[in-house]
Amino acid sequence: MKAVVDATKCNAYGTCAEICPSVFTLDEWGYAAVAGDGTVPADAVESARAAVADCPEKAITLTAA
């Protein structure tokens, strides 16, 4: 599973990095990006799903790849 952040939608709420810090990182202005290639470790799947659900801008998607 991979996470993708739509950089055009992210509005720097930072919720994702709070919920799932192993997948989401914030830059110095607070905007999110995925760590590495966005691969979600097995033990972070639940929190990654929570990050998707809680993103106020609906900027995150999870893909099968």
Binding site: A7, T8, W29
Partner: protein
């Protein structure tokens, strides 16, 4: 001043074109240097004769692979992989010739479209047959290119599919692939997040091949002359000839067709009348690969070698920086252009380009703060890949290469 003022990045004066004296020209053929070739002149050269591939147009990507054709829009991606990727999706598909030359220092696509529009259309129709497309679109921004292409389409008469012309206002991001699709689909010419990529879902939601106009012109040439002839010029990994825009501190700025594999210094000497005395470096990739020091005079014009040397070929525009060009002032001007030109869709791009602009402005004014150079170096490493398109990567490359340029940048 050897670069365009940052707030007027689109220049209108088109330089004359010429071919390198050691090659048999493929694009800048005799008679086309400063005049458009009409249909009769093009037919005499064989343009629109793709009879060798008429029986099995879908096999043409094999020929492109043997030729080693790489994209001429900036990324240097192998053409055959792109064609096959689109052909593998569900049809009917769409092909787009991208002539929205957004790089401020590049003129080569404008030269090609206004002097050899038929060769571009030939390549576009070849691509339509090759990937099974029922729409073929020429995507343009400069009025003179739209006039030239419309005139050529009218002169050519009916074809299947009939080429369409789509025009947009000239900006850098308008030429980015997802922006191309968004604009043709009726939206603004602004990038979207990936995935999906255009080869998966582009124009009308269908698999879409977006190819730089020069890449299509080379494909058309290859269809008549073959892969081996194409490889007679260039290197193993960067085959053939390419159009470059050489400018700045040299005797004869212009658009030139050159063999890949020459060094930067050789090119300026062999076609542009030589570099001026006191040249201390270059702007690479029409500015998207940033600054490159004088040591790059010896770097070979090849996608892989330039990348390995920390620079890039991009769209093939190289501007020589002369004795009067303060590299810090140049970097500050270009950083200001990035901040102005950002589509401001992504927070990281809006903030990142502004931060790079402000930092260079402080340094250029002799008012740099402790840590400014370290910040530029850090942004050069951390910002690439964070925006929805690669625009921010260009600003990051400017920051990274300006620090590596040394001298006045790092000693403030």
């Amino acid at each position: 001043m050897t670069i365009a003022p940052p707030h007027h990045p689109v220049r209108t004066a088109l330089p004359r074109a010429a071919a390198h004296p050691a090659i048999t020209p493929r694009l800048v053929v005799p008679g086309s240097e400063d005049a458009a070739l009409d249909l009769a002149a093009e037919r005499a050269l064989g343009t629109y004769d793709n009879s060798a591939h008429a029986a099995d147009p879908a096999a043409f990507p094999d020929v492109l692979e043997a030729a080693g054709l790489r994209g001429r829009g900036g990324a240097g991606f192998p053409a055959h992989i792109k064609w096959r990727g689109v052909a593998a999706g569900a049809g009917p598909r769409v092909v787009v010739a991208n002539g929205e030359e957004g790089e401020p220092a590049s003129y080569k696509d404008r030269w090609l479209l206004t002097h050899r529009p038929h060769l571009v259309l030939d390549g576009l129709l070849l691509a339509a047959r090759g990937v099974g497309a029922d729409r073929a679109i020429v995507y343009l921004s400069h009025p003179e290119t739209a006039d030239a292409v419309r005139t050529a389409i009218a002169e050519l008469g009916p074809t299947v599919p009939a080429p369409e012309v789509h025009t947009v206002a000239p900006t850098y991001v308008a030429g980015e692939e997802s922006a191309v699709c968004r604009s043709i689909n009726g939206g603004p010419a602004l990038p979207t997040a990936k995935p999906p990529r255009p080869y998966e879902s582009g124009v009308d939601g269908r698999p879409t091949l977006i190819s730089n106009v020069e890449t299509l012109a080379h494909a058309a040439w290859i269809s008549r002359h073959g892969a081996a002839a194409y490889r007679a010029e260039g290197t193993a990994v960067s085959a053939g000839t390419t159009l470059v825009t050489l400018g700045g501190a040299c005797a004869r700025p212009g658009v030139y067709e050159v063999p890949l594999g020459r060094t930067v210094g050789e090119l300026f000497a062999e076609v542009a009348g030589g570099l001026d005395a006191g040249v201390h470096g270059f702007l690479m990739g029409g500015w998207f690969a940033g600054l490159a020091g004088a040591e790059h005079t010896a770097t070979v014009l090849c996608h892989d070698e330039l990348r390995a040397a920390g620079s890039g070929l991009g769209c093939g525009a190289i501007t020589a920086l002369g004795a009067d060009d303060d590299p810090l002032r140049v970097a500050a001007d270009i950083a200001a252009w990035y901040a102005d030109e950002s589509a401001a869709q992504c927070g990281v791009c809006l903030n990142g380009t502004k931060a790079i602009r402000d930092t260079f402005a402080r340094l250029a004014a002799g008012d740099g703060a402790d840590g400014d150079v370290a910040k530029l170096a850090r942004w050069g490493q951390t910002l690439p890949g964070r925006g929805a398109c690669s625009f921010l990567d260009g600003a990051a490359a400017l920051a990274r290469t300006a620090v590596a340029y040394g001298g006045p940048v790092t000693t403030v």
